[in-house]
Symmetry: C2
Subunit: 301 residues, 2 copies
């Protein structure tokens, strides 16, 4: 007597919130204002979102995270929307490894995923591992989510395993008393710690001393730790989700509060376009630019 497997016409609103990261309130107000999404209704009048609409919501979410506004997105037709999204995909070909790793992720084989990452790390060394595998893999994982090939939970599993591997490697390479002294963290409302860890993984092998404050450090704490701890550089990481304008404002404030002797770096591709130039603030679009920045910092000294 098997439970009859009901093929659902769609997912309820709570599931869509989990899948897309869009709040229920937002989903409802979009429906009211823009006429999309337009979910089916179950017998009780509750929304049921068909898979196609959820897929499109993921695309819209992605564009909004890139700074585009709903008004424009909803006004655009399918072709235009595809074009906007297409840019990212064609940036560069993903390494062959990526597909295998994502397959492991889809199968929830976390242990094998970890081993595979670890192996690649040992084969190529920490820095090449980060630049040549992890950076493109991050993009591929994001795209896989966009296509609905992996869930949010699996994405989370990925960052977790990757952090394990990176932390272990960074820890083993750490040298006490190295120079320069770099303070890594993120601002409040920014939870993404992966960027920090990747930067650390590139910097520590170059003989830099890195201290990570973790995520969500208030401005005041950054300033007091940086000055009190005799740091040479403060490096902040911003995920694509972080509103660029807010980032710029906070960075200007932070630059004002820090003594001029301490350098300030800001990582995050989306910050670099149309960014206001600030004296004594260096933007890093790609992860490997931290190495260039480090070299530049060392040159005059």
């Amino acid at each position: 007597m098997n439970k009859t497997e009901i093929i659902p016409a769609g997912l309820p609103i709570a599931a869509v919130e989990r899948d897309t990261g869009l709040l229920k309130d937002t989903l409802r107000v979009w429906e009211r204002r823009y006429g999309f999404p337009q979910p089916l209704r179950d017998a009780n009048g509750e929304r049921l979102y068909p898979p196609e609409q959820i897929a499109r919501l993921r695309q819209i979410k992605r564009l909004i995270d890139q700074g585009m506004r709903p008004g424009k997105i909803f006004a655009a037709d399918d072709a235009t929307l595809g074009e906007w999204l297409g840019k990212e995909e064609s940036r560069q070909a993903a390494p062959a490894q990526c597909a295998e790793l994502i397959a492991l992720l889809q199968a929830q084989r976390s242990e094998e995923l970890r081993s595979a990452l670890q192996q690649n790390l040992l084969r190529h060394g920490l820095q090449r591992f980060v630049v040549e595998l992890v950076a493109p893999l991050n993009i591929e994982v994001g795209l896989a989510w966009l296509r609905g090939e992996i869930t949010v939970g699996e994405e989370h599993l990925y960052t977790e395993q990757l952090q394990n591997v990176l932390r272990g490697a960074v820890h083993a390479l750490r040298i006490p008393g190295a120079q320069p002294r770099i303070l890594l963290t993120t601002l409040p409302d920014e939870l993404h710690s992966l960027g920090l860890l990747m930067a650390e993984a590139l910097l520590v092998p170059e003989g830099a001393h890195c201290t990570s404050l973790g995520t969500q450090t208030p401005l005041g704490d950054i300033v007091s730790t940086a000055t009190g701890g005799a740091f040479d550089i403060v490096a902040l990481s911003f995920s694509p989700h972080y509103p660029a304008r807010q980032a710029w404002a906070h960075l200007a404030e932070l630059r004002r509060l820090l003594p001029a002797s301490i350098a300030l770096w800001a990582g995050g591709r989306h910050l670099c376009e149309r960014a206001p130039a600030i004296e004594g603030l260096r933007y890093l679009a790609e992860i490997d630019e931290v190495l260039i920045a480090l070299e530049a910092w060392r040159a005059p000294a």
Copy 2:
């Protein structure tokens, strides 16, 4: 020109949702029905929850997770409520180490936390580490959250670091071809993976072969993997949050689907009280009972 630091009369509803894990809808309907919480209002008529009310909400959440119902909780006075909560606290004295580790957590010193855990692991060995430090520490971390001493984010940081350490240790100890073969996982809607990892950490040193499917495995997949992979035991983990009745129902179903030759274990203290006895299903109240269960499994063979 410092930004004037406004001392807030309370937190907005979205912040309370993050802090307590109670949905905005739930907070509002409780206010309507039970008259609690009764937040202040800002100039715009929006709710502002004072810290005392948030503290009480945390307590209420804790009791609900333990299976108590809102009706009873809201009817009780302060003394009764404190009594209900007190039971847990007095269960046993926490190891001295705990306080230091929680202090590291509060300071967001994730790297030091990891090192401290790693050291303790090396000093006492994996099994004692899990039973004597991790298990009580988990409880202490939960209580610290209850007291508002650590945030949800910090709690998350804790599990992350702990998982790093445990995974590394388990990985190093793994022996191919060991017996018995144990399949570890959780049911859908259950995200807590820490219990699985702790069980694995106790079982692997005993020469068991453990495979973890991660969290949220559908019943059918558990059955097919267990039978197809020639497993001897299926072990499921349930966090306190998981509704006990649902767990029992699913376990009965799973027991029905699995061949009798495969043992079934269910870990989670709250499942054990008033649990329906099911032939061929073993409940594990405390983490260290997996060792007893393993011994018992081996005895007749």
